[in-house]
């Protein structure tokens, strides 16, 4: 049999793993007799029945859960057995059976919460025994953020999680998450593991917070069990599963409104016209009379004064979310089912932008025998994104640029002229120009089999398989549309002008992705007296593969039919491409503790990546961590008993990275050790397109894993009967062998297209802390916590052009710090210009650039590198939870320090200016020393050369989230079968304190052209039957 099963190597790895799964299933045949029945009831200190208490025979896997009335029934092997009761939030209890057949048990509430568990890589650990740095948050907390993007509710809730939300378009948006900041010049994204499957397509953003049981963030050696892809930290998501008991049906409904929290204030028509006159003193486009007409608004046809944001953006846009779920089951079979729908409307008036999502999750757990259980989870989700044909960037760019001296609509109602390309934003935000519709379908399945090996106490084998499909369909239909112009006559005739493409055109794209993962895991956990030992070993293999197909036609006769076959045959296009990636890993964990006082853990992983040549393919990533619960020591208990819990933790670990980013920062699947030729854009000979192949790069036969080493030192405290908790971590991360290109030092005459090489080193260090306090005064319960993370990174070595001056170097500075001229005020008059090194042609009102190298001239050698950049150094949160009788309230304040942004708009004849700029600008009549004169596009040297004048601080504090709820306890509800009813109001981005003012401090937006952050006010109700 052995021979038969394993001789067929051709099946490759998937076959091997399937064989193992098969083996597990066979072993389920075993069954053992039981002979004593013990019954009883579990209650709390008040005598109230406790539901769902774990009742088990100690040292075996025999166990059950107390029912709705707190009763349990258990088959016990013999009279020497000990029954263990455990329930989260209560102290565990153990009772020897002896000759009893009824054992009633009262459980005491556990104020220290010592049995609290957290999800870690490939397992669950009691929080007291965790040796690494792990932060977690429950799904309940995440649910309180009324946002369509899960990530938008994460910042400020957990120490170590840094992030920024750059834009918030329905269907797009999301918050960029950086665990402990930036660790590398390459891919900076953490690894997301959803129900045990790493890097599931679709990621975090669109997960339904209602379906999330918990989220854990692994930051140090705890992450190392995920080895290769864990260098930027790991986020583990566990979804909810069924709980034993009668079917519980829950419903929640939410309806809310969103509106942009900050739109830039632009110059009005008079102010704009004034500056236009200032930039063309030789040919002033506006007379005094014109200026007066703009000011008094008496000539809406000839001298309009338009607030474009007002004209194009709704005061509020609706959104909704509703969930219907059922869960329950017996000790043999449990189910969790949730159906959800949510949607939100864009912020444009008559918006063509909308997002809708429909999903279903089913999680089933079956106990096949006392030794075998099977769990199955499936998710089906559709994401439907509707966009106008013009991108949000283009609409907001047109809004920012559109001149206040032009009408959005003529007084007679027709749409006014465009700034260019037909971009009148009151039209391009609607479906008048066509549509761009994208449907993403996700089907994600996981099957897991656990087998407890009956003759080896504490040994459990787990086999799991996941099979995920992802499809994306996109259909973009561009059609001509009309804008109107006035001929200038007194009879106010407006003439339609066709804009956009001359004939309709259609693009259709289809993506089909398949991913599978097989894993096998052996887990051994056993306590021998005071010693507890745990060993986990496993392996995984996975494959992801994608095919893409696209087609395009133009010259549609009419815009009435938007199907491909109605398009013209001339200039039609189709294209396709595909990629595949494979990985294989082996990993394990060995943990040991003595009396849960001295704890030691070792994790390791061996990773193989298709990106590396055979001999460099596998990387070994170990991590070791240890903890000492000092408060368990006698000397502590005797002298320091006011601190009832004190644990010291320390770890050293190595993790890796094989992800590559292309020049645009997108994920790059290329295999850098192969000498390959790829296709590039075609070249025309005659009248036809000829293919072109080019060497994608000079191969690097030595490419291998990027490595990160993390050192972590932490402590946890609990004081005052655990009312006050404090945990803190210091960390240092060093990244070596970074996968970057040697662009800066190799002469261009080589003509080489560089591969990624294992070049460069950088470090990232900082600390994170969380202090919590919870107590109650009568019926008033409160729970406060503050957390903060500070991280600063520095490039230690990388490929930099030799010989550049110190002040221009990026080495020894944080990643992403750019070069700028240093502004030094403004030239007030010609004399000042003559007496100061200046750019040729400088005039009064221009910005002074500092002559950094003191050579008497201003050139590129006077650019200095900044120490800061667009990513914050410090991110903090303040969480408040209050409960009074039936009321509850939750608030999250979030803040960040240390980021800066470059705010400079493309203005002049091409677009409007910020009001802020108008107010501050230099004029001959009113020379100030701080701000420059009105500028025209990039014609001024201080516009076309980036300088520190335009840099602004992005420090902020905002009330990110607030929820107030009321739980109804009217007896009539019970009789109607409703066991719980809660109504609540929640909101996000309620207010912000910052210095930036003209743009959102979280956005990285130099031209203020991205979709703004939104405030959401949401009303909700949840019902449980």
């Amino acid at each position: 049999m052995k021979h038969l099963l394993f001789q067929k190597k051709r099946h490759g790895l998937p076959g091997c793993i399937l064989c193992m799964l098969f083996m597990f299933l066979i072993s389920t045949a075993a069954a053992f007799a039981q002979n004593i029945t013990v019954k009883g009831k579990v209650v709390d200190a008040n005598g109230e029945a406790l539901i769902g208490v774990n009742v088990s025979v100690k040292g075996t896997t025999i166990g059950t859960i107390s029912d709705l009335d707190g009763n349990y029934t258990l088959q016990v092997p013999n009279t020497k057995s000990v029954i263990a009761f455990s329930f989260i939030g209560f102290q565990s209890a153990e009772v020897p059976v002896n000759n009893q057949t009824t054992i009633n048990q009262t459980l005491k509430e556990d104020t220290q919460n010592l049995d609290e568990v957290v999800v870690v890589g490939y397992g669950v650990q009691k929080k007291v025994t965790v040796t690494g740095s792990v932060a977690s948050v429950s799904g309940e907390m995440l649910k309180a953020s009324p946002t369509t993007n899960l990530t938008n509710g994460m910042i400020g809730r957990m120490p170590g999680v840094i992030g920024f939300s750059r834009a918030d378009e329905p269907g797009g948006g999301g918050t960029t998450i950086r665990i402990r900041g930036t660790n590398t010049l390459g891919s900076k994204d953490p690894l997301i593991v959803i129900d045990g499957v790493p890097s599931r397509t679709g990621g975090l953003n669109r997960l339904n917070p209602n379906e999330i049981e918990s989220m854990s963030v692994l930051k140090d050696a705890a992450a190392a069990i995920y080895g290769s892809r864990a260098a930027n930290g790991v986020i583990l998501i566990t979804t909810k599963r069924g709980k034993e008991g009668k079917p519980t049906v829950s419903f929640s409904g939410n309806y809310g409104f969103s509106n942009p929290i900050r739109l830039p204030e632009m110059a009005d028509a008079f102010e704009y016209a004034t500056m236009m006159n200032e930039i063309s003193p030789n040919a002033k486009p506006y007379s005094d009379e014109d200026l007066q007409l703009f000011k008094d608004g008496s000539d809406p046809w000839g001298h309009p004064n338009t607030d474009w944001y007002d004209a194009a953006i709704k005061p509020s846009s609706p959104m909704y979310r509703s969930d219907v779920g059922v869960n329950g089951g017996s000790d043999k079979f449990k189910y969790y089912l949730n159906l959800a729908a949510n949607g939100e409307d864009g912020i444009y008036k008559n918006s063509a932008n909308r997002y809708d999502q429909y999903s279903m999750r089913a999680n089933l757990d079956a106990k096949v025998s006392n030794y075998v259980d099977i769990s199955f989870g499936t998710l089906a989700r559709m994401e439907y994104r509707q966009y106008p044909t013009k991108s949000a960037g283009s609409v907001f760019s047109a809004l920012r640029r559109s001149k206040p001296t032009l009408p959005a609509f003529w007084p007679s109602g027709e749409a006014g002229p465009d700034i260019e390309y037909g971009d009148n934003p009151v039209v391009t935000g609607t479906d008048a120009t066509g549509y761009d519709r994208q449907k993403d379908y996700y089907i994600q399945n996981t099957l897991k089999v656990n087998v407890d090996i009956p003759w080896v106490q504490g040994l459990r084998l787990t086999g799991s398989a996941s099979y995920d499909k992802y499809f994306k369909m996109r259909k973009k239909f561009d059609k001509p549309y009309y804008l109107y112009s006035w001929d200038g006559g007194d009879d106010h005739v407006v003439v339609p002008g066709k804009r956009g493409y001359a004939t309709p055109q259609l693009t259709q794209e289809h993506t089909d992705q398949t991913a599978w993962l097989l894993s096998a895991l052996a887990d051994y956990n056993r306590t021998f007296g005071d010693h507890t030992v745990g060993v986990t070993v496993g392996m995984e293999a996975e494959e992801k593969q994608q095919d893409f197909l696209g087609a395009f036609r133009k010259y549609f006769l009419s815009d009435k039919i938007d199907e491909m076959n109605a398009g013209g045959m001339t200039d039609l296009t189709n294209n396709g491409s595909s990629w595949k990636e494979r990985r294989k890993n082996y990993f394990g964990r060995v943990s040991y503790n003595y009396l849960e006082r001295y704890l030691l853990e070792f994790v390791w992983r061996v990773d193989g990546s298709y990106r590396f040549p055979k001999e460099k393919r596998y990387g070994f990533f170990p991590g070791v961590s240890a903890a000492w619960r000092v408060s368990e020591e006698e000397f502590w208990k005797e002298n320091m008993n006011f601190v009832e819990y004190f644990k010291l933790r320390g770890s050293v670990s190595q993790t890796g990275n094989d992800a590559l980013l292309d020049a645009d920062g997108n994920y790059d699947q290329s295999v850098q050790y192969l000498n390959t030729f790829g296709f590039t854009d075609s070249y025309i000979f005659g009248t036809t397109e000829n293919t072109r192949l080019y060497p994608t790069r000079t191969p690097n036969p030595n490419i291998t894993w990027e490595r990160g080493t993390t050192y972590n030192l932490g402590f946890d405290f609990k004081f005052l009967n655990s009312k006050l908790t404090w945990e803190s971590d210091l960390f240092y991360h060093k990244r070596t062998h970074m996968l970057i290109s040697r662009n800066a030092s190799l002469p261009e005459i080589s003509g080489i297209t560089l591969p990624r090489e294992n070049l460069g080193e950088m470090e990232n260090k900082g600390f994170e802390t969380m202090i919590g306090y919870s107590d109650k005064i009568g019926d008033f319960e409160y729970d406060l916590s503050v957390n903060g993370t500070y991280a600063i990174n520095k490039i230690l070595f990388w490929d930099e052009t030799p010989g550049i001056p110190e002040y221009k170097k990026s080495t020894d500075r944080p990643v992403g710090s750019a070069l700028y001229y240093v502004s030094d005020g403004v030239f007030n008059d010609q004399a000042e210009i003559d007496g100061y090194p200046h750019w040729s042609g400088a005039v009064p009102g221009d910005i002074k650039f500092k002559d950094i190298n003191n050579d008497g001239k201003i050139n590129a050698d006077d650019q200095m590198r900044r120490e800061k950049n667009a990513e914050p150094r410090f991110v903090g949160g303040f969480n408040v939870n209050l409960r009074y009788k039936n009321w509850d309230m939750m608030a999250l304040f979030q803040g960040a320090l240390g980021a800066e942004t470059y705010i400079q708009t493309w203005s002049g004849t091409v677009g409007n200016y910020l009001k802020d700029f108008y107010d501050k600008r230099w004029t001959a009549e009113n020379p100030t020393v701080e701000h420059p004169r009105a500028y025209e596009r990039e014609n001024q040297y201080w516009i076309s050369n980036r300088n520190t004048y335009f840099i602004r601080s992005c420090d902020y504090v905002r009330l990110k989230n607030l929820e107030v709820g009321y739980n109804f306890t009217v007896p009539a509800l019970k009789t109607a079968g409703i066991s719980a009813l809660r109504m609540y109001v929640n909101a996000s981005n309620i207010f912000t304190i910052d210095k930036l003012k003209v743009a959102d401090p979280e956005a990285d937006d130099k031209d203020i052209t991205s979709y703004p952050q939104r405030r959401v006010v949401n009303f909700g109700v949840s019902l449980t039957f």
Partner: protein
């Protein structure tokens, strides 16, 4: 039972170990699904051909938005993009400005990438199996030609450059520290490549292969590079102080070879000057314009072809008028307009300095090439106006409105400042649609008051469509001009006259000697030198020559220092005449005034001798310290 299970468990453990170690190799070897390995490429003629096609992409064409014409007295680029700094000499090794723009025809980075690919092709091509339908020899010829072309561009831009013939590997860092070769070594290398190409390339290619290199292209390249290096700049030692940029040799011999190379093309029988004579000046101009616009004709030697998709030419959008929603990027200067002759061969005088005024239409009775090259106030553009401009110009093919016009019965007022003293003139009327005060995208209007027509198919809706106009790298007229210039320099003036007259006769212009007489000039070497240089400017305007010509002739100090000028046009109604909206050009109703205006406030043109050769970027010199910078660019 227990034993069986134990055995199974044992089997699983063993099996896992065995299978994981054995499965590993095949499972992890992923070959990209969208790429070929190098070995495959060079064992297949079709794939090799596809690679050769890639090298063509590094032969920079001039149909770009920030075209080099704006870096000389031909034109002005409206939107800066580093061009202003070049014309104001505000560039250095640490600040390359337009010299680091993708439109710069000799950008260092792109050029050496193309050279690497050509070197790679040449090193591999002999191993490609002979396959029917593919000509390995021709491919090799193409690689030689393309490499020579790219080196020629480098030499024209920078002077002597490192000659790289090796396909460098990642570890050849030391070998990459190549110093600059001198111009003689460069030109010898280019000529040798051309000879190889001439041997291997076919005389002509099929229509389907139009745009591929031919024997003629390689021969024309020879003539161009020889004339370049024969020019005064490379024999000067006072201004051109860097040894690598000086040619130590026989100038006469170079001129002789340049002429011979040009004559080889002319006499090859493959190409013919197209006779444009067609009765009227307009019709002649149209035929001349067609020489440029046609995808192919007897005059074209080497072209870059474009289509609606794949490789596209957006010059209509990039250089066309704002009144058609175009961007007016490269616009002709008053100096260029002035340089076109009158139909009788004389030159227009008194219209080249700020404040010079004409009250008689200076655009009448000009030579055909003027009408084919320049868009000016009142000329027919060639396409109906877009819907929003149509009410303001309902003429069937559109008339350019680059002026300001008095109109009866309108409220709006025109306010213009008249050069040179900026006195303000106001009257009821309209700003032309194609001006910077026009009603459509005024920020894209022309500052000079002119539009480029030569490279533009004016019948195309440029805002939405690319034009199917090729870029012409070489056409036969250049060979005549090379032969003429070399003959003048060799003081064989009668020969020069023959070559020049061939070009003049085909557009119905008076011959050289008559023209000289009409202009009151003597027939001697100095006057003929002026004449041939002038002829070259107007014949080859916008074809990427002037930038190099003013440098190699060393006339740049005079030419590039001239203030940038354009024209201001306004039309007042003649007494008793009325014109309601819309405005239409009318010599009958209007008195037009044309005034030269100074545009120095837009671009303060200057010259510095450092500008003879472009700067090599500082970082490249830091990477390779054996590379010398061009003088003055440090």
């Amino acid at each position: 039972m227990k034993t069986i299970l134990k055995n199974i468990l044992l089997a699983m453990t063993l099996g896992t170990t065995v299978s994981l170690s054995s499965c590993s190799s095949d499972f992890m070897d992923v070959t990209p699904t969208d790429q070929y390995s190098e070995d495959v490429v060079f064992s297949d003629a079709a794939l090799t051909q596809s690679f050769i096609n890639t090298i063509y992409g590094y032969v920079r064409h001039g149909a770009g938005e920030h075209a080099i014409a704006a870096a000389s007295d031909e034109a002005y680029f409206t939107h800066n993009y580093g061009m202003k700094a070049v014309n104001e000499t505000a560039v250095s090794e640490s600040d390359l400005q337009w010299f680091d723009d993708g439109n710069c025809p000799f950008r260092w980075y792109d050029a050496y990438k193309g050279i690497r690919y050509a070197n790679l092709a040449l090193s591999k091509i002999d191993q490609v199996p002979v396959t029917s339908g593919y000509d390995n020899g021709q491919m090799k010829g193409e690689a030689y030609f393309l490499r020579a072309y790219i080196y020629t561009q480098l030499v024209r831009g920078f002077g002597g450059v490192p000659i790289v013939t090796k396909v460098y590997g990642l570890n050849d860092v030391e070998e990459m520290q190549q110093p600059r070769n001198n111009v003689k070594e460069c030109v010898d290398f280019i000529l040798a490549d051309c000879e190889e190409a001439i041997k291997l390339l076919p005389a002509t290619v099929s229509d389907a292969n139009l745009g591929r290199a031919t024997k003629g292209a390689a021969m024309a390249l020879k003539a161009r590079v020889l004339l370049q290096i024969a020019s005064p700049l490379y024999f000067d030692k006072t201004v051109n102080t860097l040894e690598e940029n000086q040619y130590n040799g026989d100038q006469k011999a170079l001129y002789t070879s340049a002429r011979q190379a040009a004559l080889d093309v002319i006499n090859s029988g493959t190409y013919k000057l197209i006779d444009c004579n067609a009765g009227t000046v307009e019709a002649t101009a149209e035929k001349f314009h067609k020489i440029i616009l046609d995808p192919n004709n007897e005059e074209k030697i080497f072209t870059r072809q474009f289509a609606q998709k794949g490789s596209t030419n957006w010059l209509v959008l990039q250089h066309g008028p704002n009144g058609y929603h175009n961007w007016s990027g490269v616009t002709p200067t008053q100096d260029l307009v002035q340089n076109f002759e009158m139909a009788d061969g004389t030159l227009l005088s008194g219209f080249d300095k700020e404040g010079d005024t004409k009250t008689v239409n200076p655009y009448l009775n000009r030579e055909p090439r003027f009408y084919a090259t320049i868009g000016f106030d009142g000329c027919v553009w060639g396409r109906i106006r877009p819907a929003d401009a149509y009410p303001l110009d309902p003429t069937p093919l559109g008339q350019l409105q680059t002026g300001y016009y008095e109109i009866t019965g309108v409220e709006s007022e025109v306010s213009i400042k008249l050069p040179p003293s900026d006195t303000e003139l106001k009257f009821k009327g309209l700003n032309g649609i194609d001006t910077r005060q026009g009603p459509i995208e005024d920020w894209n209007g022309s500052w000079t008051g002119y539009y480029e027509r030569k490279l533009v198919d004016t019948s195309v809706d440029g805002q939405n469509y690319a034009q199917n106009v090729p870029w012409t790298y070489f056409r036969l007229a250049e060979m005549y001009l090379i032969a003429a210039e070399a003959s003048v320099e060799l003081n064989e003036l009668e020969d020069a006259v023959d070559y020049l007259d061939a070009l003049r006769a085909r557009i119905g212009m008076p011959d050289t000697k008559t023209t000289l007489t009409r202009r009151g000039k003597a027939f001697n070497q100095a006057e003929m030198r002026e004449f041939v240089r002038h002829e070259r400017l107007v014949e080859l305007a916008f074809e990427d020559h002037r930038y190099f010509d003013v440098r190699r002739w060393m006339i740049a100090p005079q030419i590039n220092k001239r203030p940038l000028t354009g024209v201001l046009v306004f039309g007042r109604l003649k007494p008793g005449m009325t014109q309601a909206k819309p405005y239409i050009h009318s010599e009958e109703k209007y008195n037009y005034t044309y005034i030269v205006k100074d545009l120095s406030f837009r671009e303060n043109r200057a010259w510095d001798n450092k500008m003879y050769f472009a700067p090599i970027k500082q970082a490249e010199i830091r990477r390779n310290p054996s590379l010398k910078q061009n003088p003055g660019m440090e």
